[in-house]
Symmetry: C3
Subunit: 266 residues, 3 copies
């Protein structure tokens, strides 16, 4: 294994804040189409989150259509939630089509800690070159000893979500402390976040900074939404409103991202 | 082909305003049941839009149930979004059951411009006698040279949606300028609109005026919703509220519908 | 058949109010996981209702996963809406896994009055020992002559929903008058209510009082939501907010539950 540069010596938080601002602008201007193979619980909120931000969702899993839709998209989300056989059967085809077209895919291995079949499938998919893998700690732990090890082994970016989101490519590490507890009270919040992360990767230059930038944007949208919400119902609406209305100034004012040896960026 | 009467000589906008007012009242009183074969992304919002207006949704695609549900409904919506094989397989049965019962069906050929398989299937379904076909310009263009030609060839009504919605039966034409840009930022807005159009056709006397009337009502609901919305999340809620609360006065005050040789109706 | 004790002599409403307060607290503290086999129209709202209350939803119907998810959950909801063959095929496996683990299941026989196939299937499932069956009058009537007869025959609890919800185990009867007409204008409101009832049964000691308590809580949440709603869109959001914010004081102040020979409890 290569020697790793010491962490924290880069201008990391500044890079990430810049990537958040630029990514937000780029998604709104370029309107990337993100093809989402995702569970039926999450489909509508995921589509609405992408639309609110300025991206364009597509969601078919029909076998005769999947290659054209995934290959023609700007990015591909593969979410393993409620993994019905029909959806499972088209995932490889979609990844191959996206990869052949030079498009990134993001793997969201939902609940692989509760399902041995999903875990084995997720391991196979992880070997196909995802630009990023996003999961909570329990899900990441199924794939490798920790997020760093997983990222280094596969040459990918890993986002381990939680109260603080950790993003690593095995060499660089960012900790994003933005967010709000009500985000855990709305279904598909994580799935939609993974779709938006895919959009940031699709328009970004570097998957690590794009992924960390997306975590910042998602967390800040949650904080803004919580300011007007009276509970999880109004929070979900306000979250979409916040994704739509978020400005570069919000990012500068609210971002809480650190690297291990640096202070907060703001 | 028959000679066509010159366009614009009818009392078209007045007819459409009357159809919008009467259709709104009739849906609320008669509560038509609309069976929707639609994609899983759109199901919940479509059901909520129908319920908000006063109609009753049903949505099964189970092979052993589809004929009873479609044949017993007051109208049938066939939406080709995310066209999984299981859903595709029951569409003909549903159309045959609705047609045998004398009920109208509306075809919404979602994304047939991006999928050759869907396009071929949509051409077959279009030949089965839809009361109306609703699509954007790119989707309509897959089916014929233009909306007029398609309407005339099939003896149907075509609604080509866009910033201005055009409705034609090949002899009559209406242009509906109501609506709001936030409608494009909420998933299933078009799918739900097609379901509501089906409800207007189900309770109306003439598919052309009913379709144009539905476009007016949908656009006005969008304008009302935008008055209180802070973004696409609150807009989606406010849109359902507007469908529920819309009054004849709103239609009279806000409708912007023209025929080629006439001025605005209001 | 055993002689029945005279109805109304128990301290029924007080028991139910206590069960409502205690159930609300227990769901929030113990966070039961409820596995929901439910239709795709209802999935997202059902998940959001469970999360708003403090429970945890899971929803897979994949054949290789269903036993692990249903058997590991604290309760199982079986909803027969839009009963696709793939979903239908796993229901018995799920019930067997839940039963083997000593977990309750609730049967929601949606639209069995409109589908002979669903009715036959529902009869089979009803014989597998549900802790409760929830349906409207027309659905219950398909299963037996009335709710009391059904409850006695199967040794289960039956909730017959309507303007007033009736809950019976054949010996005890409760009538819950809480609720609001806007609840009928939001799709999946009943399905989500059935999921929440399953959560109350999962944390409760007695399925009858838990079911009646859930009806009280659901109705009061609807009443609170209606106070701020401007229509069914804002109502749906406010309903989730109300489930999240509901306090024991709300239950004491608003509950309208009676047994036949007693007055209102409050």
């Amino acid at each position: 294994m290569d020697a790793l540069p010491p962490r924290g010596e880069s201008e990391l938080p500044t890079d990430i804040l810049g990537a958040a601002r630029d990514g937000l602008a780029a998604v709104r201007v370029r309107r990337p189409r993100i093809h989402c193979i995702t569970n039926t619980v999450a489909q509508a909120f995921t589509a609405n989150a992408l639309l609110a931000l300025g991206a364009v969702p597509s969601m078919t899993t029909a076998p005769d259509e999947i290659a054209a839709f995934a290959g023609g998209a700007d990015g591909l989300l593969v979410n393993l939630g409620t993994l019905e056989p029909e959806r499972r059967a088209v995932i490889r085809t979609a990844i191959e089509a996206a990869s052949a077209a030079g498009r990134p895919f993001l793997l969201d291995p939902v609940f692989i800690d509760r399902s041995a079949g999903r875990a084995a499938f997720a391991r196979d998919l992880a070997a196909l070159g995802p630009a990023a893998i996003r999961g909570n700690g329990a899900e990441i732990a199924v794939l490798d000893t920790d997020a760093d090890a997983l990222a280094l082994r596969l040459g990918t970016v890993v986002a381990a979500t939680g109260e603080t989101d950790l993003v690593t490519d095995g060499r660089r590490l960012a900790a994003v402390a933005n967010g709000h507890p009500l985000m855990a009270r709305v279904t598909a919040m994580g799935c939609a976040g993974a779709a938006i992360t895919t959009a940031f990767i699709a328009v970004g230059e570097d998957a690590f900074t794009a992924t960390a930038a997306a975590m910042v944007v998602l967390g800040i949208a949650g904080e803004r939404a919580a300011e007007t919400a009276r509970g999880p119902g109004s929070f979900a609406s306000a979250y979409l409103d916040a994704l739509y209305a978020l400005e570069a100034d919000d990012i500068a004012a609210r971002a809480r991202v650190t690297s291990p040896s640096q202070g907060e960026a703001s």
